[in-house]
Symmetry: C2
Subunit: 256 residues, 2 copies
Protein backbone atom coordinates (compact mmCIF):
# COMPACT_ATOMS: atom_id res chain seq x y z
CA UNK A 1 0.00 0.00 0.00
CA UNK A 2 1.58 3.26 -1.13
CA UNK A 3 0.37 6.48 0.51
CA UNK A 4 0.51 9.70 -1.52
CA UNK A 5 -0.42 13.21 -0.35
CA UNK A 6 -1.80 15.57 -3.00
CA UNK A 7 -0.74 18.93 -1.66
CA UNK A 8 0.00 22.56 -2.37
CA UNK A 9 -0.74 25.36 0.08
CA UNK A 10 -1.70 27.64 -2.84
CA UNK A 11 -5.43 27.55 -3.16
CA UNK A 12 -7.44 26.43 -6.16
CA UNK A 13 -4.59 24.77 -8.08
CA UNK A 14 -6.39 21.48 -8.78
CA UNK A 15 -5.57 19.31 -5.72
CA UNK A 16 -9.08 17.89 -5.37
CA UNK A 17 -9.60 17.58 -9.13
CA UNK A 18 -6.30 15.69 -9.46
CA UNK A 19 -7.01 13.43 -6.46
CA UNK A 20 -10.42 12.42 -7.84
CA UNK A 21 -9.44 11.98 -11.49
CA UNK A 22 -6.13 10.20 -10.95
CA UNK A 23 -7.70 7.87 -8.37
CA UNK A 24 -10.65 7.04 -10.65
CA UNK A 25 -8.39 6.52 -13.68
CA UNK A 26 -6.23 4.11 -11.62
CA UNK A 27 -9.34 2.30 -10.33
CA UNK A 28 -10.49 1.89 -13.94
CA UNK A 29 -7.10 0.29 -14.66
CA UNK A 30 -7.79 -2.31 -11.97
CA UNK A 31 -5.90 -0.78 -9.03
CA UNK A 32 -7.58 -0.73 -5.61
CA UNK A 33 -7.58 2.86 -4.44
CA UNK A 34 -8.61 4.73 -1.27
CA UNK A 35 -9.11 8.52 -1.07
CA UNK A 36 -8.79 10.33 2.29
CA UNK A 37 -10.58 13.69 2.14
CA UNK A 38 -8.42 15.70 4.54
CA UNK A 39 -9.95 19.07 3.58
CA UNK A 40 -12.73 20.39 5.86
CA UNK A 41 -14.43 21.72 2.73
CA UNK A 42 -15.16 18.09 1.81
CA UNK A 43 -14.82 18.76 -1.92
CA UNK A 44 -13.37 15.32 -2.73
CA UNK A 45 -16.35 13.68 -1.03
CA UNK A 46 -18.85 15.88 -2.90
CA UNK A 47 -17.00 15.51 -6.18
CA UNK A 48 -17.47 11.72 -5.87
CA UNK A 49 -21.19 12.08 -5.25
CA UNK A 50 -20.94 11.38 -1.51
CA UNK A 51 -23.06 14.24 -0.16
CA UNK A 52 -22.73 15.84 3.28
CA UNK A 53 -25.91 14.30 4.82
CA UNK A 54 -24.57 10.78 4.03
CA UNK A 55 -21.30 11.28 5.87
CA UNK A 56 -21.77 9.32 9.11
CA UNK A 57 -18.18 8.71 10.27
CA UNK A 58 -15.53 11.09 8.96
CA UNK A 59 -11.81 11.81 9.24
CA UNK A 60 -12.64 14.09 12.16
CA UNK A 61 -13.88 11.05 14.15
CA UNK A 62 -10.74 9.15 13.18
CA UNK A 63 -8.22 11.87 14.05
CA UNK A 64 -9.87 13.44 17.10
CA UNK A 65 -11.87 10.55 18.62
CA UNK A 66 -9.68 7.63 17.54
CA UNK A 67 -12.33 5.78 15.47
CA UNK A 68 -10.73 3.11 13.25
CA UNK A 69 -10.12 4.28 9.69
CA UNK A 70 -11.72 1.09 8.34
CA UNK A 71 -14.98 2.02 10.06
CA UNK A 72 -15.10 5.42 8.34
CA UNK A 73 -14.30 3.95 4.91
CA UNK A 74 -17.20 3.91 2.43
CA UNK A 75 -17.68 2.58 -1.10
CA UNK A 76 -18.07 5.05 -3.95
CA UNK A 77 -20.01 4.70 -7.21
CA UNK A 78 -16.70 3.68 -8.84
CA UNK A 79 -15.43 0.07 -8.73
CA UNK A 80 -12.15 -0.39 -6.84
CA UNK A 81 -12.45 3.06 -5.24
CA UNK A 82 -13.25 3.76 -1.58
CA UNK A 83 -13.39 7.04 0.35
CA UNK A 84 -13.03 8.36 3.89
CA UNK A 85 -15.09 11.56 3.82
CA UNK A 86 -14.84 14.85 5.70
CA UNK A 87 -17.10 17.57 7.00
CA UNK A 88 -16.44 21.08 8.24
CA UNK A 89 -15.93 19.65 11.76
CA UNK A 90 -12.42 18.85 10.61
CA UNK A 91 -11.49 22.55 10.65
CA UNK A 92 -11.34 22.46 14.47
CA UNK A 93 -9.16 19.34 14.54
CA UNK A 94 -5.87 21.20 14.85
CA UNK A 95 -7.02 23.13 17.94
CA UNK A 96 -8.51 19.97 19.46
CA UNK A 97 -5.31 17.96 19.00
CA UNK A 98 -2.99 20.71 20.25
CA UNK A 99 -2.41 19.13 23.72
CA UNK A 100 -1.20 15.85 22.19
CA UNK A 101 2.61 15.84 21.80
CA UNK A 102 2.22 13.14 19.12
CA UNK A 103 -0.49 15.03 17.23
CA UNK A 104 1.45 14.87 13.94
CA UNK A 105 1.39 11.07 14.04
CA UNK A 106 -2.37 10.59 14.34
CA UNK A 107 -3.08 9.91 10.66
CA UNK A 108 -0.02 7.68 10.32
CA UNK A 109 -1.25 5.58 13.27
CA UNK A 110 -4.80 5.47 11.88
CA UNK A 111 -3.46 4.09 8.58
CA UNK A 112 -1.94 1.15 10.50
CA UNK A 113 -5.48 -0.19 11.12
CA UNK A 114 -5.19 -4.02 10.62
CA UNK A 115 -8.72 -4.25 9.17
CA UNK A 116 -7.79 -1.64 6.55
CA UNK A 117 -4.73 -3.71 5.63
CA UNK A 118 -7.01 -6.66 4.69
CA UNK A 119 -8.58 -4.51 1.95
CA UNK A 120 -5.25 -4.62 0.07
CA UNK A 121 -5.38 -1.11 -1.31
CA UNK A 122 -2.67 -0.46 -3.88
CA UNK A 123 -2.76 3.31 -3.41
CA UNK A 124 -4.06 5.76 -0.82
CA UNK A 125 -4.40 9.40 -1.97
CA UNK A 126 -4.80 12.15 0.63
CA UNK A 127 -6.50 15.34 -0.64
CA UNK A 128 -4.93 18.13 1.42
CA UNK A 129 -6.38 21.54 2.40
CA UNK A 130 -4.77 24.73 1.04
CA UNK A 131 -2.38 25.35 3.95
CA UNK A 132 0.75 23.92 5.63
CA UNK A 133 -1.19 23.41 8.85
CA UNK A 134 -1.33 20.44 11.24
CA UNK A 135 -3.68 18.53 8.90
CA UNK A 136 -1.20 18.76 6.01
CA UNK A 137 1.74 17.86 8.28
CA UNK A 138 -0.28 14.81 9.44
CA UNK A 139 -0.66 13.85 5.78
CA UNK A 140 3.07 14.27 5.08
CA UNK A 141 4.06 12.21 8.14
CA UNK A 142 1.69 9.43 7.02
CA UNK A 143 2.80 9.49 3.37
CA UNK A 144 5.48 7.87 1.27
CA UNK A 145 5.39 10.70 -1.31
CA UNK A 146 3.75 14.02 -2.21
CA UNK A 147 2.16 14.74 -5.60
CA UNK A 148 2.18 18.50 -6.25
CA UNK A 149 -0.39 20.04 -8.64
CA UNK A 150 1.14 23.25 -10.02
CA UNK A 151 -1.28 25.72 -11.57
CA UNK A 152 0.24 27.35 -14.64
CA UNK A 153 -0.05 30.82 -13.13
CA UNK A 154 2.31 33.34 -11.57
CA UNK A 155 1.37 33.06 -7.86
CA UNK A 156 1.57 29.27 -8.04
CA UNK A 157 5.35 29.21 -8.58
CA UNK A 158 5.91 31.48 -5.61
CA UNK A 159 4.67 28.95 -3.06
CA UNK A 160 6.50 25.96 -4.51
CA UNK A 161 9.84 26.48 -2.76
CA UNK A 162 8.11 26.77 0.62
CA UNK A 163 6.28 23.51 -0.05
CA UNK A 164 9.50 21.70 -1.00
CA UNK A 165 11.13 23.04 2.17
CA UNK A 166 8.28 21.71 4.32
CA UNK A 167 8.61 18.27 2.73
CA UNK A 168 12.35 18.33 3.50
CA UNK A 169 11.65 19.45 7.12
CA UNK A 170 9.25 16.57 7.71
CA UNK A 171 11.70 14.09 6.17
CA UNK A 172 14.62 15.27 8.30
CA UNK A 173 12.79 15.86 11.59
CA UNK A 174 11.09 12.47 11.49
CA UNK A 175 13.80 10.50 9.74
CA UNK A 176 11.24 9.44 7.11
CA UNK A 177 11.75 8.86 3.42
CA UNK A 178 9.13 11.39 2.28
CA UNK A 179 9.88 12.69 -1.22
CA UNK A 180 8.12 14.28 -4.19
CA UNK A 181 6.11 11.78 -6.26
CA UNK A 182 5.84 14.26 -9.10
CA UNK A 183 4.82 17.77 -10.09
CA UNK A 184 1.75 18.10 -12.34
CA UNK A 185 1.07 21.18 -14.46
CA UNK A 186 -2.67 21.98 -14.25
CA UNK A 187 -5.07 24.45 -15.91
CA UNK A 188 -2.57 24.81 -18.72
CA UNK A 189 -3.52 27.10 -21.61
CA UNK A 190 -1.22 26.69 -24.62
CA UNK A 191 -2.12 30.14 -25.98
CA UNK A 192 -1.10 31.87 -22.76
CA UNK A 193 2.52 32.96 -22.45
CA UNK A 194 2.29 32.65 -18.64
CA UNK A 195 1.51 28.92 -18.92
CA UNK A 196 4.46 28.41 -21.25
CA UNK A 197 6.72 30.35 -18.89
CA UNK A 198 5.62 28.30 -15.87
CA UNK A 199 6.25 25.06 -17.77
CA UNK A 200 9.70 26.23 -18.82
CA UNK A 201 10.59 27.34 -15.25
CA UNK A 202 9.25 24.12 -13.74
CA UNK A 203 11.11 21.82 -16.12
CA UNK A 204 14.35 23.83 -15.71
CA UNK A 205 14.20 23.81 -11.90
CA UNK A 206 12.56 20.48 -11.17
CA UNK A 207 13.67 18.38 -14.14
CA UNK A 208 12.33 14.85 -14.22
CA UNK A 209 9.97 15.48 -11.29
CA UNK A 210 7.59 17.25 -13.70
CA UNK A 211 5.19 14.86 -15.43
CA UNK A 212 5.09 14.75 -19.21
CA UNK A 213 1.30 14.71 -18.91
CA UNK A 214 -0.10 18.25 -18.69
CA UNK A 215 -3.72 18.95 -17.69
CA UNK A 216 -5.29 21.61 -19.96
CA UNK A 217 -7.78 24.18 -18.70
CA UNK A 218 -11.00 22.48 -19.75
CA UNK A 219 -14.55 23.46 -18.85
CA UNK A 220 -15.79 19.83 -18.71
CA UNK A 221 -13.37 19.21 -15.82
CA UNK A 222 -15.01 21.98 -13.79
CA UNK A 223 -18.53 20.80 -14.68
CA UNK A 224 -17.99 17.17 -13.63
CA UNK A 225 -18.20 17.65 -9.82
CA UNK A 226 -21.67 19.20 -10.11
CA UNK A 227 -22.79 15.75 -11.38
CA UNK A 228 -20.90 13.96 -8.59
CA UNK A 229 -18.60 12.38 -11.14
CA UNK A 230 -14.93 12.43 -12.06
CA UNK A 231 -14.19 14.14 -15.38
CA UNK A 232 -12.70 10.86 -16.66
CA UNK A 233 -16.22 9.42 -16.50
CA UNK A 234 -18.35 12.52 -17.11
CA UNK A 235 -16.54 13.44 -20.33
CA UNK A 236 -14.34 10.44 -20.99
CA UNK A 237 -13.30 11.38 -24.56
CA UNK A 238 -12.59 15.02 -23.70
CA UNK A 239 -9.13 16.61 -23.60
CA UNK A 240 -9.15 16.97 -19.81
CA UNK A 241 -10.18 13.38 -19.16
CA UNK A 242 -7.63 11.99 -21.62
CA UNK A 243 -4.87 14.02 -19.92
CA UNK A 244 -5.72 12.48 -16.55
CA UNK A 245 -5.74 8.98 -18.07
CA UNK A 246 -2.32 9.69 -19.58
CA UNK A 247 -1.17 10.83 -16.13
CA UNK A 248 -2.42 7.54 -14.61
CA UNK A 249 -0.32 5.55 -17.09
CA UNK A 250 2.74 7.72 -16.50
CA UNK A 251 2.22 7.45 -12.73
CA UNK A 252 2.11 3.64 -12.92
CA UNK A 253 5.17 3.49 -15.17
CA UNK A 254 7.05 5.51 -12.52
CA UNK A 255 6.25 3.06 -9.74
CA UNK A 256 8.89 0.51 -10.65
Amino acid sequence: MKIISVANQKGGVGKTTTTINLAVALADLGKKVLILDLDPQGNASTGLGHLAPDRKLTLYDVLVDGEPLSKATVMTQVNNLCLVPSTTDLSSADIEMIEDKARVMRLKKALQDPILAKENFDYVFIDCPPSLSLLTVNAFVASDTVLVPLQSEFFALEGLSQLLLTIKDVRESLGSTLRVEGVLLTMFDRRNKLSQQVEKDARENLGGLVYEAIIPRNVRISEAPSYGQAAVHYDQYGKGARAYVALAHEFLAGQN
Copy 2:
Protein backbone atom coordinates in the same frame (compact mmCIF):
# COMPACT_ATOMS: atom_id res chain seq x y z
CA MET B 1 -11.38 54.18 8.80
CA LYS B 2 -13.44 51.21 7.63
CA ILE B 3 -11.86 47.74 7.93
CA ILE B 4 -12.88 45.07 5.39
CA SER B 5 -11.74 41.42 5.29
CA VAL B 6 -11.55 39.81 1.85
CA ALA B 7 -12.20 36.18 2.68
CA ASN B 8 -13.32 32.80 1.46
CA GLN B 9 -11.86 29.53 2.75
CA LYS B 10 -12.15 28.04 -0.75
CA GLY B 11 -8.77 28.36 -2.41
CA GLY B 12 -7.98 30.25 -5.59
CA VAL B 13 -11.26 32.19 -5.87
CA GLY B 14 -9.68 35.62 -6.41
CA LYS B 15 -9.21 36.96 -2.84
CA THR B 16 -5.77 38.43 -3.49
CA THR B 17 -6.66 39.63 -6.99
CA THR B 18 -9.77 41.39 -5.64
CA THR B 19 -7.88 42.92 -2.69
CA ILE B 20 -5.19 44.37 -4.95
CA ASN B 21 -7.42 45.61 -7.77
CA LEU B 22 -10.22 47.07 -5.64
CA ALA B 23 -7.69 48.79 -3.38
CA VAL B 24 -5.75 50.25 -6.32
CA ALA B 25 -8.94 51.38 -8.08
CA LEU B 26 -10.08 53.15 -4.89
CA ALA B 27 -6.63 54.74 -4.45
CA ASP B 28 -6.87 56.03 -8.03
CA LEU B 29 -10.22 57.60 -7.06
CA GLY B 30 -8.46 59.52 -4.29
CA LYS B 31 -9.21 57.28 -1.31
CA LYS B 32 -6.38 56.51 1.16
CA VAL B 33 -6.12 52.76 1.38
CA LEU B 34 -4.09 50.24 3.40
CA ILE B 35 -3.73 46.54 2.53
CA LEU B 36 -2.85 43.98 5.25
CA ASP B 37 -1.41 40.83 3.69
CA LEU B 38 -2.63 38.22 6.17
CA ASP B 39 -1.73 35.23 3.97
CA PRO B 40 1.64 33.54 4.69
CA GLN B 41 2.00 33.05 0.93
CA GLY B 42 2.52 36.82 0.68
CA ASN B 43 0.78 37.02 -2.71
CA ALA B 44 -0.70 40.50 -2.11
CA SER B 45 2.79 41.81 -1.29
CA THR B 46 4.30 40.22 -4.40
CA GLY B 47 1.40 41.28 -6.58
CA LEU B 48 2.12 44.90 -5.61
CA GLY B 49 5.79 44.57 -6.50
CA HIS B 50 6.97 44.36 -2.88
CA LEU B 51 9.30 41.38 -3.11
CA ALA B 52 10.19 39.01 -0.26
CA PRO B 53 13.77 40.28 0.31
CA ASP B 54 12.41 43.82 0.90
CA ARG B 55 10.01 42.76 3.65
CA LYS B 56 11.75 43.93 6.84
CA LEU B 57 8.88 44.10 9.36
CA THR B 58 5.82 41.98 8.61
CA LEU B 59 2.45 41.05 10.06
CA TYR B 60 4.18 38.21 11.86
CA ASP B 61 6.21 40.75 13.89
CA VAL B 62 3.02 42.68 14.62
CA LEU B 63 0.87 39.73 15.70
CA VAL B 64 3.45 37.57 17.47
CA ASP B 65 6.01 40.11 18.77
CA GLY B 66 3.71 43.11 19.28
CA GLU B 67 5.48 45.49 16.87
CA PRO B 68 3.31 48.54 16.09
CA LEU B 69 1.38 48.19 12.84
CA SER B 70 2.50 51.68 11.76
CA LYS B 71 6.14 50.51 11.90
CA ALA B 72 5.46 47.62 9.51
CA THR B 73 3.50 49.80 7.05
CA VAL B 74 5.30 50.54 3.75
CA MET B 75 4.49 52.68 0.74
CA THR B 76 3.70 50.96 -2.57
CA GLN B 77 4.32 52.15 -6.13
CA VAL B 78 0.69 53.36 -6.15
CA ASN B 79 -0.28 56.79 -4.75
CA ASN B 80 -2.61 56.66 -1.73
CA LEU B 81 -1.91 52.94 -1.18
CA CYS B 82 0.14 51.44 1.65
CA LEU B 83 0.85 47.84 2.59
CA VAL B 84 1.75 45.71 5.60
CA PRO B 85 3.50 42.71 4.02
CA SER B 86 3.80 39.05 5.06
CA THR B 87 6.25 36.22 4.75
CA THR B 88 5.94 32.48 5.31
CA ASP B 89 6.83 33.03 9.00
CA LEU B 90 3.17 33.93 9.44
CA SER B 91 2.17 30.29 8.96
CA SER B 92 3.44 29.47 12.46
CA ALA B 93 1.60 32.41 14.07
CA ASP B 94 -1.43 30.39 15.13
CA ILE B 95 0.67 27.83 17.02
CA GLU B 96 2.78 30.61 18.60
CA MET B 97 -0.27 32.54 19.82
CA ILE B 98 -2.09 29.46 21.15
CA GLU B 99 -1.29 30.17 24.84
CA ASP B 100 -2.83 33.66 24.68
CA LYS B 101 -6.50 33.59 25.74
CA ALA B 102 -7.01 36.85 23.82
CA ARG B 103 -5.27 35.57 20.67
CA VAL B 104 -8.28 36.40 18.46
CA MET B 105 -8.01 40.09 19.41
CA ARG B 106 -4.39 40.65 18.41
CA LEU B 107 -5.07 42.20 15.00
CA LYS B 108 -7.93 44.30 16.33
CA LYS B 109 -5.60 45.71 19.02
CA ALA B 110 -2.81 46.30 16.50
CA LEU B 111 -5.20 48.34 14.33
CA GLN B 112 -5.78 50.69 17.28
CA ASP B 113 -2.22 52.00 16.85
CA PRO B 114 -2.48 55.84 17.40
CA ILE B 115 0.26 56.55 14.85
CA LEU B 116 -1.67 54.59 12.23
CA ALA B 117 -4.77 56.68 13.01
CA LYS B 118 -2.86 59.85 12.00
CA GLU B 119 -2.51 58.47 8.46
CA ASN B 120 -6.28 58.88 8.03
CA PHE B 121 -6.84 55.80 5.92
CA ASP B 122 -10.33 55.65 4.44
CA TYR B 123 -10.24 51.88 3.96
CA VAL B 124 -8.19 48.94 5.24
CA PHE B 125 -8.47 45.69 3.24
CA ILE B 126 -7.26 42.42 4.81
CA ASP B 127 -6.31 39.69 2.30
CA CYS B 128 -7.13 36.44 4.09
CA PRO B 129 -5.59 32.96 3.64
CA PRO B 130 -7.73 30.09 2.27
CA SER B 131 -8.92 28.72 5.64
CA LEU B 132 -11.12 29.58 8.62
CA SER B 133 -8.11 29.42 10.94
CA LEU B 134 -6.95 31.75 13.71
CA LEU B 135 -5.56 34.25 11.19
CA THR B 136 -8.94 34.60 9.45
CA VAL B 137 -10.78 34.81 12.77
CA ASN B 138 -8.34 37.58 13.78
CA ALA B 139 -9.30 39.39 10.58
CA PHE B 140 -13.04 38.99 11.22
CA VAL B 141 -12.74 40.24 14.82
CA ALA B 142 -10.82 43.29 13.59
CA SER B 143 -13.19 44.03 10.69
CA ASP B 144 -16.38 45.98 10.15
CA THR B 145 -17.38 43.86 7.14
CA VAL B 146 -16.33 40.90 4.96
CA LEU B 147 -16.14 41.06 1.16
CA VAL B 148 -16.57 37.54 -0.28
CA PRO B 149 -15.16 36.72 -3.74
CA LEU B 150 -17.21 33.85 -5.17
CA GLN B 151 -15.66 31.92 -8.03
CA SER B 152 -18.26 30.98 -10.62
CA GLU B 153 -17.60 27.27 -10.15
CA PHE B 154 -19.32 24.34 -8.48
CA PHE B 155 -17.08 23.79 -5.43
CA ALA B 156 -17.17 27.51 -4.62
CA LEU B 157 -20.85 27.54 -3.70
CA GLU B 158 -20.40 24.60 -1.35
CA GLY B 159 -18.20 26.53 1.08
CA LEU B 160 -20.28 29.70 1.13
CA SER B 161 -22.78 28.63 3.80
CA GLN B 162 -19.93 27.65 6.14
CA LEU B 163 -18.33 31.06 5.64
CA LEU B 164 -21.58 32.90 6.38
CA LEU B 165 -21.99 30.78 9.53
CA THR B 166 -18.49 31.70 10.73
CA ILE B 167 -19.23 35.40 10.22
CA LYS B 168 -22.42 34.99 12.27
CA ASP B 169 -20.50 33.09 15.01
CA VAL B 170 -17.92 35.88 15.33
CA ARG B 171 -20.65 38.53 15.41
CA GLU B 172 -22.64 36.75 18.13
CA SER B 173 -19.76 35.50 20.30
CA LEU B 174 -18.06 38.88 20.38
CA GLY B 175 -21.10 41.10 20.22
CA SER B 176 -19.67 42.84 17.18
CA THR B 177 -21.47 44.26 14.16
CA LEU B 178 -19.56 42.18 11.60
CA ARG B 179 -21.59 41.71 8.42
CA VAL B 180 -21.13 40.91 4.72
CA GLU B 181 -19.92 43.91 2.70
CA GLY B 182 -20.83 42.19 -0.54
CA VAL B 183 -20.41 39.03 -2.61
CA LEU B 184 -18.40 39.37 -5.83
CA LEU B 185 -18.69 36.90 -8.71
CA THR B 186 -15.19 36.24 -10.08
CA MET B 187 -13.67 34.33 -13.04
CA PHE B 188 -17.05 34.52 -14.73
CA ASP B 189 -17.33 33.00 -18.23
CA ARG B 190 -20.56 34.02 -20.00
CA ARG B 191 -20.38 31.01 -22.35
CA ASN B 192 -20.23 28.53 -19.48
CA LYS B 193 -23.52 27.25 -18.10
CA LEU B 194 -21.88 26.66 -14.71
CA SER B 195 -21.09 30.39 -14.37
CA GLN B 196 -24.66 31.29 -15.25
CA GLN B 197 -25.97 28.76 -12.75
CA VAL B 198 -23.74 30.10 -9.95
CA GLU B 199 -24.88 33.68 -10.70
CA LYS B 200 -28.54 32.62 -10.64
CA ASP B 201 -28.10 30.68 -7.37
CA ALA B 202 -26.15 33.52 -5.74
CA ARG B 203 -28.65 36.24 -6.67
CA GLU B 204 -31.59 34.04 -5.58
CA ASN B 205 -30.06 33.16 -2.20
CA LEU B 206 -28.11 36.31 -1.37
CA GLY B 207 -30.16 38.98 -3.15
CA GLY B 208 -28.77 42.51 -2.90
CA LEU B 209 -25.52 41.31 -1.27
CA VAL B 210 -24.28 40.25 -4.72
CA TYR B 211 -22.58 43.09 -6.61
CA GLU B 212 -23.88 44.07 -10.02
CA ALA B 213 -20.23 44.22 -11.14
CA ILE B 214 -19.02 40.78 -12.26
CA ILE B 215 -15.33 40.02 -12.87
CA PRO B 216 -14.83 38.04 -16.11
CA ARG B 217 -12.17 35.34 -16.49
CA ASN B 218 -9.48 37.39 -18.22
CA VAL B 219 -5.89 36.38 -18.94
CA ARG B 220 -4.53 39.93 -18.42
CA ILE B 221 -5.69 39.76 -14.79
CA SER B 222 -3.55 36.67 -14.21
CA GLU B 223 -0.56 38.17 -16.03
CA ALA B 224 -0.50 41.44 -14.05
CA PRO B 225 1.08 40.10 -10.81
CA SER B 226 4.12 38.83 -12.71
CA TYR B 227 4.84 42.50 -13.47
CA GLY B 228 4.21 43.52 -9.84
CA GLN B 229 1.20 45.53 -10.93
CA ALA B 230 -2.55 45.54 -10.42
CA ALA B 231 -4.53 44.61 -13.53
CA VAL B 232 -6.23 48.03 -13.36
CA HIS B 233 -2.84 49.55 -14.17
CA TYR B 234 -1.23 46.76 -16.24
CA ASP B 235 -4.14 46.54 -18.69
CA GLN B 236 -6.29 49.51 -17.78
CA TYR B 237 -8.63 49.39 -20.82
CA GLY B 238 -9.11 45.61 -20.62
CA LYS B 239 -12.37 43.89 -19.64
CA GLY B 240 -10.98 42.68 -16.33
CA ALA B 241 -9.61 46.06 -15.28
CA ARG B 242 -12.82 47.87 -16.24
CA ALA B 243 -14.85 45.38 -14.17
CA TYR B 244 -12.75 46.13 -11.08
CA VAL B 245 -13.12 49.88 -11.65
CA ALA B 246 -16.90 49.39 -11.91
CA LEU B 247 -16.74 47.45 -8.64
CA ALA B 248 -14.88 50.34 -6.98
CA HIS B 249 -17.64 52.76 -7.98
CA GLU B 250 -20.37 50.36 -6.82
CA PHE B 251 -18.49 49.78 -3.56
CA LEU B 252 -18.28 53.54 -2.89
CA ALA B 253 -21.95 54.08 -3.75
CA GLY B 254 -22.80 51.43 -1.15
CA GLN B 255 -20.92 53.18 1.64
CA ASN B 256 -23.58 55.78 2.36
